[in-house]
Amino acid sequence: MSKPIEHDYIGLSEPQLPSMEKSSDTNNKKNALHLKATELRLGLPGSESPEWDDHDHNVLSLKTFVSGAKRGFSDALDGGGKWVFSGGSGGGSEGLFSPRSSGNNNGGKGLSGSDSGLGGPVLKDGATQKPVVVQEKKPQAASGAGHGNGNIAPASKAQVVGWPPIRSFRKNTMASHPPKKDDDAEAKLGSGCLYVKVRMDGAPYLRKVDLKIYGSYKELSSALEKMFSCFTIGQCGSHGAPSRDGLSESRLIDLLHGSEYVLTYEDKDGDWMLVGDVPWEMFTDSCKRLRIMKSSEAIGLAPRAMEKCKNCT
């Protein structure tokens, strides 16, 4: 169904003010740009940009701004070319690019490794918004962009209100519930997820969990319970009663923390450890994979294992 055509009314009857709104099919027009937009590679005005002259073209006398690039990032780019472009575009925006300044002064070309990292500035709705443009102050503004506001902090990430142009609603939604990837990639540190394989003894196939989405051992353990419940009951994909009917959480907790199973992990050194000994953050940093062992096999750990499991909360 086509969109209704809407035109602005403000009650003006003079002929020189016809309503001109026509919002039909605007979406249809966005796509061409959009595809192109995802192809283009842009750097923000920076080191080799044409002159942005402070002083030209202003008929009325202007006090030029305090030093520092108005355009935020240009100085930071000098010699660095840190302007980067993200291939996607944000909700509600059409083909805007995501500049990102590393703010580093090291002048290296290309992306600085330190820039990759979890998230960027989190801009929450409701917070007082101050323009937090942080830029490098360059003694010789080679870019010519001598206009700007504020001075620069050598932060690794410049923070600009409203940039990248992703609507804050979407940012907030994604921040609280990042879409989880169900892929087979290796655990990717620093990209916001940390997938590790989980094997349960006796189960026909493995699973993967993203350790980053849990905040504690308790959350992990209940997620694993849910994940492997069907195996424990012994019916997965049955054609009779759904396998999860009648499953109570407490039974599973008993299974994992009681007599039948023990949760272990392989750490960076290749050793198999009992889950729960170290602080959660340390665990997520060192865990490479998980294994839910039958406690009959965890003989070497058994007595302590039982004790530790009970403390796994």
Partner: protein, 528 residues
């Protein structure tokens, strides 16, 4: 017709005069005009002569106001006595990106008070970027006995308590559409406020909300609202629950699933697949939060007639997307995450011959660096505006000189909305746009080197536009004052930032208005 009787009693001298001139009796004219839906046509009609102006104003039932400050509710009510449906937009678009102060304005309450008095038969209210409180929602819920449709998009200031008031009191509600608002989610009990006798709901969209809702109440509601055609759930709804709801809603045209990642048994999966099959009416599919690739095939039978697929919350791989798209031959609009990568885009190209809109969202909304180059891209945008002659909306940013804007001014003759960030080299760029784009209605600019000369070059232009936004540019207070002085029918608002230079106009919002300067501006907003 009631309205024409009223009209005759009010305007009798006019009707006497025109009876000889016009071959149409008023009733016929009004009847004919009542068939006009396009507001643009209606505006032109109202300019023909006084009779037509009157016939148009009496026959109009829907009013669209693109800028709530361009006119006052009293003026609207005076001109259009028979309004049943109102669409209002408030804050500048950049408020979606946190560039507009929190307390800027655009409060609906004053409008509701006038509507309660003048439009007691109001049926529909659609708001975008307005501030609305629970108190306003409560007023809305009781002041309009025929109220049918409420749509809130990108609004803020209310909580689920306000929704409870609507659910409790609006006996004839057909549409409750809550999208992307800054809502204070206090829990899902509001949904249980729909009385058991209530059956009229056709559109229910609560995807915006995060809390768990009372699923039994929802299931009963969907079960008894036999005309439901749009159902968009929030992510608290599991796949199992989705299946139970869908069983009772075979005629859905638009579905927004809840979370798509519950662990399902084989039987549950098959049940879901079965419930989704044969949905020839379904044209829009969204939600799919955390969609697991292995469950997507359950959707295949529902996709036959899909025209809009929103996967922007499902981190799919290219292969998963490709397989899904093979079942969506009629797709016109597609939103995806960039997890689908180049191969995914290729799959789109291969599978969607009818595609008109594609949006690719970044999986990480906080920006990950990807590519960079230092060459200006003027020619690229120039090529776009030269070849896409029907382009109506455009956003540009990045390493662009005035040349880009020369191209825009020269070629983008159908451009209505332009959004510019971090681009341009001098005033000339903005002057090209203002001088060259005859249909320009909305211009929003941030962080560009455009100053007073550019601002003032559009003096004549701004009255034909809805609004202009300039922030972090080079415009000064003096420039704004001059603009305000020369153009009394424009409201020139300046928002000052703390600690900035007094002479700089940090954020400027200019819009035409017949209501004069607004009286509800917060202290940080000056009207010049």
């Amino acid at each position: 017709m009631e309205s024409s009787e009223l009209k005759r009693s009010k305007d009798s001298p006019n009707s006497d005069e025109s009876a000889g001139l016009s071959s149409f009796p008023d009733e016929v004219l009004e009847r004919v005009l009542s068939l006009l839906k396009s507001h643009r046509d209606r505006s032109f009609v109202s300019l023909v002569c006084k009779d037509w102006y009157n016939a148009e104003r009496w026959s109009r039932t829907h009013v669209f106001i693109g800028n709530c400050y361009s006119v006052s509710p009293e003026i609207v009510a005076r001109r259009f006595p028979n309004i049943r449906s109102v669409t209002l937009k408030g804050k500048p678009r950049f408020s979606d990106f946190n560039l507009v102060p929190q307390n800027w304005g655009a409060d609906i309450h004053a409008w509701l008070v006038v509507f309660a008095a003048k439009y007691p038969f109001l049926e529909e209210l659609r708001l975008k970027r307005m501030a609305i409180s629970d108190e306003s929602l409560a007023l809305l819920a009781v002041a309009f006995p025929n109220f049918k449709a409420l749509s809130l998009l990108s609004c803020d200031g209310f909580s689920t308590n306000g929704l409870a008031a609507i659910a409790t009191n609006c006996k004839n509600l057909t549409e409750l559409d809550i999208q992307e608002n800054g809502i204070d989610d206090k829990g899902g009990s509001w949904l249980g406020c729909f009385p058991e006798s209530f059956t009229s709901l056709e559109v229910l969209n609560f995807a915006n909300l995060t809390s768990d809702i009372n699923f039994d109440a929802l299931e009963r509601l969907v079960g008894r609202c036999k005309s439901m055609r749009v159902l968009k759930l929030n992510r608290s709804i599991s796949l199992e629950q989705l299946q139970r709801l869908l069983v009772n809603a075979p005629q859905l045209a638009e579905l927004g699933t809840g979370s798509f990642s519950q662990e399902l048994t084989f039987r549950q999966y098959k049940e879901l697949e079965c419930t989704l099959s044969n949905r020839k009416n379904m044209h829009t599919l969204s939600g799919l939060w955390e969609a697991k690739g292995i469950y997507l095939p359950a959707l295949y039978p529902a996709c036959t007639n899909l025209t809009f697929l929103n996967l922007s919350y499902a981190a799919l791989q290219s292969s998963e997307l490709a397989k899904l798209l093979a079942h969506c031959p009629r797709l016109k609009r597609l939103w995806v995450l960039d997890t689908v990568q180049d191969k995914g885009l290729e799959a789109i190209g291969l599978n969607c011959p009818l595609l008109e809109e594609l949006r690719v969202f970044p999986d990480d909304p906080f920006g990950q660096p990807d590519y960079l180059t230092n060459e200006p891209m003027d020619e690229a945008f120039g090529a776009v505006v030269k070849t896409c002659t029907k382009l109506q909306r455009l956003s540009v940013s990045g390493l662009l000189t005035d040349l880009t804007f020369e191209y825009i001014g020269r070629y983008a003759k159908n451009l209505e909305t332009l959004s510019v960030a971090f681009a341009g080299s001098s005033d000339w760029g903005m002057q090209c746009v203002l001088g060259g784009c005859p249909k320009l209605r909305k211009l929003e600019i941030r962080d560009c080197p455009f100053g007073n000369a550019a601002l003032l070059s559009g003096l004549e232009k701004y009255e034909s536009m809805r609004s202009l936004w300039m922030s972090a540019c080079k415009v000064t207070m003096n420039g704004c004052r001059l603009l305000a002085r020369e153009m009394p029918r424009l409201n020139v608002e300046v928002m000052k930032e703390d600690g900035s230079d007094d002479s700089q106009a940090d954020k400027v919002y200019v819009y035409r208005s017949i209501a004069g300067p607004r009286r509800d501006a917060p202290p940080s907003v000056l009207t010049l």
